[in-house]
Subunit: 400 residues, 2 copies
């Protein structure tokens, strides 16, 4: 078997944890498996490097930011190889230049184009455990790129895909994917399996178990993922194409508290006005999520939408700068809102899921501000203070 194992920054934050990871990898190796390990930067290393950069230049060139950030994973892979050597197992660390991990040119947000396998296979054939830097690549100019936060998951999936790995195990500090955050919903259950699509919706919606781009790639190349705990031997959750469904309508409830709602009030009711609003925002790379348009009086309308809180200030500023051209009267921004979503492949063939969700919310007196849906997801915008009670009630209604 060829196994790709990915460990995040907290799993390699100190000597003890590095040895813990080394031992887990060696277990698989000693059973005769080929083992490829993908690591993130240790603990707070990436944050520390960002702070160092911002001290020098609050707006550092992205290319240099990537050159800087990529050192974090280089440190963890070298130290891991040293730990394995100490445990008597041959291991070798490889960075993105050595693999080579080819990406697009976009700094801080690159995507894999091609991953070479010669060097890794040569090292595996020599009987070595291969430890690869997560999160980074090299673009066609031979410059270092990074994949954005959580990019190490994507590195692991990309390697599993090109190496035809038999398993791709993503180790985190939770022991799998839950039907809801167990800190909020004590009754939440761990899922044995979940489909790529469902996992994708959950990953996008604030369940921070897997990076959504890694799930997309796993789906595209049909890489079987397992989400497991680096601290226990619990079984974890398998992410794959077709699930047995466990006869569940809804496989997870997720909340995202990082949303902000912006309402544009009193727009002239002329054709193309909505286009102008969202085109402006798109040009500044601001991702708009839920959108609601309502007719106010006969000659005006209101548009409200949600964005990430981190982008709210910029969105408001751009809109204000264009108030005249957009012909609106007032702008309202709210940050005390949250998105609550249910995800389930089963809801495609079942009517009444939305109604049941709204009922569960009404039962506990939670007001719905906005609604958006996909084939396998329903999301509502609610007051942030209602999140916990809403999540429990919805979880109860569908899962327990």
């Amino acid at each position: 078997m060829l196994i790709v194992k990915k460990f995040g920054g907290t799993s390699v934050a100190n000597k003890e944890r590095i040895y813990n990871v080394a031992k887990r990898c060696i277990e698989d190796y000693k059973k005769g498996n080929k083992v490829v390990v993908v690591l993130s930067a240790m603990g707070d290393t990436t944050d520390d490097l960002i702070a160092k950069a911002k001290e020098i230049n609050p707006d550092p060139p992205k290319r240099e930011m990537d050159a800087l950030l990529s050192t974090g994973e280089q440190i963890s892979v070298a130290l891991m190889a040293m730990a394995m050597a100490k445990l008597g197992v041959p291991a070798v660390s490889l960075n993105a230049f050595q693999v080579v991990m080819h990406t697009t040119h976009h700094h801080l947000n690159a995507r894999f184009k091609k991953v070479d396998t010669d060097r890794i296979n040569a090292e595996l054939d020599q009987g070595r455990i291969v430890i690869v830097t997560g999160f980074q690549g090299v673009n066609r100019y031979d410059d270092v790129t990074t994949l954005g936060r959580g990019g190490s998951d994507t590195t692991a999936v990309a390697l599993a895909a090109v190496l035809n790995a038999d398993a791709c195990e993503i180790y985190t500090d939770v022991d799998g994917v839950y039907t809801a955050d167990p800190r909020i919903v004590p009754d939440a259950r761990k899922l044995k399996e979940i489909s790529y699509d469902e996992m994708l919706e959950l990953a996008t919606l604030g369940a921070q178990v897997l990076h959504n781009r890694s799930v997309e790639m796993a789906k595209k190349y049909n890489v079987p993922l397992v989400v497991r705990s680096s601290l226990t031997n619990a079984e974890g959750t398998v992410v794959k194409e077709v699930t047995k469904m466990e006869s569940m309508l809804v496989s997870g409830v997720a909340a995202d508290k990082d949303a902000a709602r912006i309402a544009i009030i009193g727009l002239k009711n002329t054709p193309g006005i909505a286009f102008r609003v969202f085109d402006l925002l798109a040009k500044k790379n601001i991702n708009v999520d839920m959108i609601l348009q309502s007719i106010g009086r006969e000659d005006s309308k209101d548009i409200s939408f949600t964005v990430d809180q981190t982008q709210a200030k910029e969105a408001v500023q751009i809109l204000k700068e264009n108030q005249e051209r957009l012909t609106f009267q007032k702008l309202v921004e709210e940050e005390n809102v949250a998105k609550l979503s249910i995800v389930g492949a089963g809801m495609q063939s079942n009517a009444g899921v939305a109604a049941k969700m709204f009922e569960a919310l009404a039962d506990v007196g939670v007001n719905i501000r906005m609604i958006s849906t996909s084939e396998i997801r329903i999301t509502v915008l609610i007051d942030i203070d209602d999140v916990n009670v809403a999540m429990k009630s919805v979880h109860d209604a569908f899962i327990n």
Copy 2:
């Protein structure tokens, strides 16, 4: 003009110093020069990385040590590029993979084989300041190598050689090469010029201004070096092939307090016995420096020699393990000794230099334990407590 400028770890230890270096480089750039900057790791970074490695594995694989250590310079070059960007000047950082800096395969102690110029020239042609990681390279297996302590000097000289630079400036915390350590000899003078050979002897003998391998390479490729201070605008010392000599017999006095003397007493007076001793030590990579052989009684002789203090314990152990085969009676190790050297191209054509040195030592009551000479150097071994008074007296005799 194309100028290569090298700055050591203390020159880039914090934000203020990074900006200081950035500004100095930009001055040259704004005069229309092409500027290539070579940097070491910031402050104590390399020591910190070594400590981290030793915590994980007291005897880490050298290959992984190189992979780890190379991150230090990658951090400084990226931060420097960010500082220059903030100052409005286009700059780009390059690591050893990007340049490419080809080296031999020897980890922790690699030597340059070939340095590519395409990428650097392309960046210079784009009007950018190019900032290169010192101290590191890539071997033919695509593995990261390092050049050993002080290796950044060698990186700068290698780049100056292949780029046909008009100047190679090595910035340190002193403002040039002195006739002796000014902390010991207040009368010491800064040299305007010194020859490669003299600088090489001084570098080897404990004047820690330049890495001796960098001087060797500068001599080989006739790269004009300037040693300057990163803190002042003082002129510095030029290191080049032929010097005007400033009509000086001796251009420098240097002391090395890291020597140890080992005496092997009562060896059988048979042919090949000295060979056996030094062959044993050579096989363990122990560098022997001064050697003195004396006939004791008719059937025995004594051999004494000096080694670096760091290798003394190992040398003694190896000799003791072979006491029977080497037929000696007693072993004496002393660490309270020091080497005092005078260096000067002028002494080749002048008799009486040694006599004058010994007289200066006798004048202040300093006992000479051993003597060794080269064409342009005389070294004596003395008691460590005598170093300062001896250095002053010798300096007075020749230089002031």
